[in-house]
Subunit: 226 residues, 2 copies
Amino acid sequence: MATNQQVKLLGFVGSPIVARAELALKLKGVEYEYIQESSLTNKSDLLLKSNPVYKRLPVLLHNDKPVCESLLIVEYVDETWTGHPILPSDPYHKALSRFWSSFIEDRVWPAVNKAAWNPNKQEREKGAEEAREALEILDKGLKVNDKFFNGDSVGLLDIAALVIFYWIPIIQEACEFNAYSGDQYQNLEKRGQVVLNDPVVKGVLPPRDVLLSFFRARFQSIIDSK
Amino acid sequence: MATNQQVKLLGFVGSPIVARAELALKLKGVEYEYIQESSLTNKSDLLLKSNPVYKRLPVLLHNDKPVCESLLIVEYVDETWTGHPILPSDPYHKALSRFWSSFIEDRVWPAVNKAAWNPNKQEREKGAEEAREALEILDKGLKVNDKFFNGDSVGLLDIAALVIFYWIPIIQEACEFNAYSGDQYQNLEKRGQVVLNDPVVKGVLPPRDVLLSFFRARFQSIIDSK
């Protein structure tokens, strides 16, 4: 990377969505400055200015130009820096990777958040059910066809699925529901084991016990506020 | 295109979402067979088999391999066939085109559908308000910076925004609400005039009066069923 390039990432430690952008940058070996938002509720002027539409993390600032939305950041990083290819080169495999990544974003992740953080217990149960349904569709869709992924190396779909491989097991333990188990979703589990063993992936994962304590405290505050 | 290639598009005449895929294929000069779904409610076996996850149109079948989701089809077409470039070449402009295209998909279009087809009048009014808010954000976001589009030629964001340039004015007339007017959203209006004058775009637009009658009848059936 040219030395006159400036790369900053607005993030929040522990967020699986921010971790996607971090992982993409690390896979490419891009040096960047991590700017931690001090709070998820009291948003910084820099975040509001950089992502006025959704006002959410992560935001990549490349020479002060903001790129928003985690999956779009991953594609931007792949297209901007050479080295480790993140998207498959074949257009059909590319389309499948994008399709399933968006499915995780639109169907799996919102259901998990509902299962974990909705103040209403019935809604939480409904969320867990929706998450199981979505995970089953995903697991069946992936089948044994690992071309949906990026061959042996970590790719877009792996990055999108990190929420499943690493975060969901911790969140469901903290928030007392059951959406994901390796026995049920064997294609996901198999791929998850490969991805979580990757040294670059390991470098972006926050410690399990820290996340568990954080999510437990957040869950308890929801229960207490009822 | 090699003669041994087979391209089919599962669609439904009059759908702005299907028109995106059609337009991408026509911009590239790809010959394809259009397979019309006979009904939007009674889905064909081919559709259910090709898009088991969302069961919705359009689906592109390229040598029998299905590609789903309109914006992903547009990217697939751009990456598969040479000729007219649909996405900007610069990664930053590419990211912005994807960002605003997804914004239209996630924020503008669902609000317009709510404003048009929700059986509850208050919900319809809420939908129209949400559509106006989203269109205002989009119009401001686009400003005078036409690099978000694809320069002079028709690109991804134009294809995504065709629902605004052509369909929304017809739908709001049929369904008696007001979300879009050229006076209010001058950046959109300016770009819309360029895009709607493009000869290839003209070739995929269904006649205005046919759409208006179709949407009027659909709206009346919703009013009558109350």
